[in-house]
Symmetry: C2
Subunit: 154 residues, 2 copies
DNA sequence: TATTGTTATACTCTATAACTATA
DNA sequence: TATAGTTATAGAGTATAACAATA
């Protein structure tokens, strides 16, 4: 057992300089911690995103929410099904367009979401405690640039 | 059509302040661009990670590589199968342990990887051009902190 | 003609458990 | 007993295509 090639021995080469690789490693860790932290709510980061949009924008259609989050509307069906089964969100028939459903938090959903947000903020604080003054605003600004960038093909 | 609820009308609420949400949106965009950019190589970010480790650490076992990348060893099987089918990586029997395979780039794999790295660096430059002086080093440092953080349960 | 929610489908990624051959 | 590679499997996430109802 002279050499078990533990992680410390590894040369990561170019990976150590690539923002994409570092982003992925960081995101996986945050995602896992979020899920552990919010497991008692049965809420994943994806579900939390939908809840947050619904809470601040009551009455939006499923398609509008999918667009806001950068997802396909087909993926919204099972998500909203799950949130309805948890009695936190409800579909109401749109008054203006009978094709679409307007989404709202239920009464229970509002209390549920308020409690959930507290937990999410604890999770967030757990990671932002790693940041020095000004670094949180800066990294969010940088990540916004990365998310909005429509790169040239060249 | 007075209000189609286009993305500009959306109130993202707490999502706009959460590092986890911003990380995800940024990473999805980088991932998509990487895949488009490297599609002619048939290489995904995950495959590129394995190739990079093999290139810099020839002779490692599959399990050692999986650990280095934070993946499960069972996921390595199809990855290495694919890279072998592309004739860029080869499994060689380990001289010291007949249970394990040592991984190496093939001759073709070395040229392939060199060309691939050029493309990846173009992709990287496309995004890091959004950064000001010093921001790249800072964001990589911050992402390293996020990836290494083992949060308390409390 | 176009759009909404939906279904069916498929593909990737990821993880777990169990098997075999070795150690 | 423990570990390496493997297989089978299952879950989540994501995307496309097509359909019925409606616009």
């Amino acid at each position: 057992m002279a050499n078990q090639n533990s992680s410390e021995d590894i040369d990561y080469g170019i990976l150590d300089t690539l923002v994409g690789y570092k982003l992925r490693r960081a995101q996986v860790n945050l995602f896992n911690h979020f899920s552990e932290h919010c497991s008692r709510f049965g809420i994943t980061p994806g579900l939390f995103g939908v809840l947050s949009i619904v809470e601040r924008n009551p009455g939006l259609t499923q398609t509008a929410i999918a667009n806001a989050l950068g997802n396909d509307r087909s993926a919204m069906v099972s998500v909203v099904d799950r949130l309805e089964a948890m009695n936190v969100v409800e579909r109401k028939p749109s008054t203006s367009d009978r094709r679409s459903h307007a989404l709202f938090l239920t009464k229970h959903g509002e209390a549920f979401y308020a409690e959930l947000v507290e937990e999410v903020l604890k999770h967030e604080a757990n990671f932002t405690s790693l940041l020095n003054e000004g670094e949180k605003a800066l990294i969010i600004d940088i990540l916004d640039r990365f998310a909005a960038h429509a790169p040239s093909k060249a």
